[in-house]
Point group: C2
């Protein structure tokens, strides 16, 4: 049963009526190439985010960290406080030639806006701004206190977020947190997330020769690409099982509440198959079995390169080969243990000279499925989207939710504007404008209902 105030139609109407100016605001933000991995556009993005909140009557600060600053914005008043967590940094845009239009030149096509960051996470941030505008327009003022924390290093693993949170617990204290993003699935069902996986990101480096050599000597000179290929092949089998000794030590199955949510989630196998042109999922998994894999860690090659990668033919023995590996972790794991297990595995398999460089790490986090804010959000989402929401106990992606959970103790729920074709982290990242309106409306309704 949804109370009338929870689905005030004026909130959604305001956002739809003002869509053009939100597209404009988002486009301006998406033109800033704030790639944390490249260190570009950070100052411009900080200034933009502060100005956007200040135009809306918020007080803002750019809180310095050892890396990029966190923008903190505070506004509104009421019995309850909701924390909005977002980030102004984006993934690198490469490979550039796979984009239909340039990644930092937002382009509207068929009702969707294309650019790096339009969904992850700049579009989500602007959706929250739209929700705040709608609440002020309809209620005259914000009916609750809002604290926004917009960081600039999410895409490189939020290395400086925990000290920021620990040092600003009073300012960030809240009754609930709306997470950085949310999505609808291929069937228009809103997906609410109660957890995120962790991350260990490493670069492997094989060195076999002081310099590259003519491949006529391949019978006597060891090839770094071969060494890396052989080392990688010991990490995972062709059935997608990770073979690193000790990698899953201590990993727990889902709790009964989490298992109930997994079982209630719809089967999305066909959606994945259609979107990615697949005949079968990784490891031949399907249905609930595939969903249960959310509670297992992954071992993914994000990149590999060695030798000659240009046009035509070149015959060379590469002296160096590199791979970027990301491990998505579950709540019981910590990145340092995973890296130690990887090092020990390589040593034990004769690859002691393959270097492991740790790049970033983060622990997983899951909110309590039985918290009342979860039920409220699900009720509102059902009303806004006119369909049963999918509530996931954890999702595949990573975010610094654990820091908030540990220091603030507040439950977090994801609501947002993405869809399976949004191409997050990939070329042609895009935001459907209809999703933007519904996502922003849902956030506004949740805030109104929670107030």
């Amino acid at each position: 049963m949804v109370a009338a105030f929870e689905t005030d139609p004026r909130l959604g109407a305001f956002i739809a009526d003002n869509l053009d100016r939100y597209v404009e605001e988002l486009s301006a933000l998406a033109r800033i190439p704030s790639v944390a991995a490249h260190g570009t556009g950070i100052d411009d993005a900080v200034a933009f985010v502060r100005a956007a909140f200040e135009r809306r009557g918020f007080t803002t600060r750019a809180v310095p960290t050892r890396g990029n600053p966190v923008v903190v914005a505070e506004g509104g008043a009421g019995a309850r406080t909701v924390l909005l967590y977002n980030h102004y940094d984006v993934q690198p845009p490469e490979p550039l030639d796979a984009w239909t239009t340039p990644p930092f030149e937002p382009a509207l096509r068929d009702g969707a806006l294309y650019a790096r960051g339009v969904i992850d996470d700049k579009g989500e941030l602007v959706a929250r701004l739209a929700a705040l505008d709608a609440l002020r327009a309809v209620h005259g003022a914000l009916p609750l206190r809002i604290v926004a924390a917009v960081e600039g290093e999410e895409e490189i693993g939020s290395p400086n977020l925990e000290p920021f949170i620990a040092a600003n617990v009073d300012a960030l204290r809240c009754d609930a947190c709306i997470w950085e993003a949310g999505t609808v699935d291929d069937h228009g069902r809103p997906n609410l997330w109660l957890g995120v996986r962790g991350m260990a990101y490493v670069e492997l480096v094989a060195h076999t020769l002081a310099h590259d050599a003519h491949s006529g000597w391949a019978h006597v000179l060891p090839n770094a690409a071969w060494q890396l290929v052989h080392a990688l092949a010991t990490l995972k089998d062709t059935a997608d099982n990770v073979l690193i000794d000790g990698f899953e030590d201590g990993v727990q199955p889902p709790s009964p509440a989490q298992e109930r949510l997994l079982a209630a989630m719809p089967d999305e196998d066909d959606d994945y198959k259609r979107e990615y042109g697949l005949r079968a999922l990784a490891g031949g998994r399907s249905g609930l079995d595939a969903r249960r894999r959310l509670f297992h860690p992954t071992c993914n090659i994000s990149g590999i390169w060695s030798g000659y990668t240009g046009e035509g033919t070149k015959t060379v023995i590469p002296g160096e080969a590199r791979a970027k590996l990301d491990f998505r972790l579950v709540p019981e794991q910590n990145p340092a243990q995973v890296v130690r297990a990887l090092r020990a595995h390589l040593d034990a398999h004769g690859f002691g000279n393959v270097e492991v460089h740790f790049a970033e790490g983060q622990r997983a986090a899951t909110a309590d499925p039985d918290h009342p804010f979860v039920a409220l959000t699900a009720r509102v989402a059902r009303a806004v989207y006119g369909t049963e929401p999918v509530v996931a106990p954890i999702v595949g992606g990573t975010g610094p939710a654990r820091f908030f959970l540990e220091h603030l103790g507040a439950p977090f729920v994801s609501i947002g504007c993405s869809y399976p074709g949004a191409r997050k982290h990939a070329p042609d990242e895009n935001l459907r404008l209809d999703d933007f309106v519904r996502g922003a409306t849902c956030i506004a309704q949740v805030l109104a209902a929670f107030a």
Copy 2:
């Protein structure tokens, strides 16, 4: 016993005295970026080579092929004809940032000239021009007939050379052939080659996803980099044995004459170890065992790439992964059979959807170790270099020697200007000027002796 005319000191003196202008001539040629794989600089290189021979009284033609033209130059007169085979194209210069100075801006450092192609094969070509100049200067005219065939596609496997030779057998008829290159080893011993290996060059392509995906879905979406790594790992073991079924079918051991040459060759293991910073050779081989591997084919990864290869971290499941493989073949193999065996192997190991794109192929060739031209060249080299030459029945590299052998029937011997640190096909390719003088002198003496 070397006859006096075979080591006429005036030949070497002429070349040493005129070294500056050969460095200038080579630098001008090396500034032309005639990369066959990229299709650049071809016309300029053809014009340069023709002009260089014409300045020396040769008649020249640019013989069209389906690809880049072959420059044919004819000059001199005498009872005997020697064919000079060289090429004006060079390997791609990548990776550009590994060069100390730009690859197409020749730079002199510590008695060596650095640029792409200064040794392979432009420096060798200019050394032959210098040898011809010396003969004319000392003898008044060339004491034998010279035919030079300078092609422009050697570095992409000479795909159009055989039809050219077949159509020009009369013009190319010769008593002996001086091959495109030669080298001294780390101990200053001239190395004479009597054979080259063949080549099969392929690109492997793994496709798993219609487009790259966020790595949070690594538990359900198959990763092309993993598929390629697993496929490659089945091709060769960590002890450097090729595992492709049927790959070595029909491969013969060296003949008794070849085995005698292998056994007489000096042990170069320590040279390789010093040059490349190795503790052990590939497969733990050493000595005669390592040299016998010249009569086995290789399977080399010349390049591999997939996913994100830039700075920092990006978390993506690559939908496509590629590798360039080159196989150095022995005389009994042909490229088509090797590619068929590779295809069948991948199919049999569950990698039927990994594509194999054939790029280029060439068969191996070995000249008769007992031919008198071989003995003459060895005698002259011993006199010029003041040390026993190393005569190799075959070398690791590839060249289109088989076409000449089959159509012209002439023996070929390598003499030239390279050394183990020349970094052929790699960044900082370089030519030591002392090697240039001795190599050019040796060629001049061989021509004089053979005339």
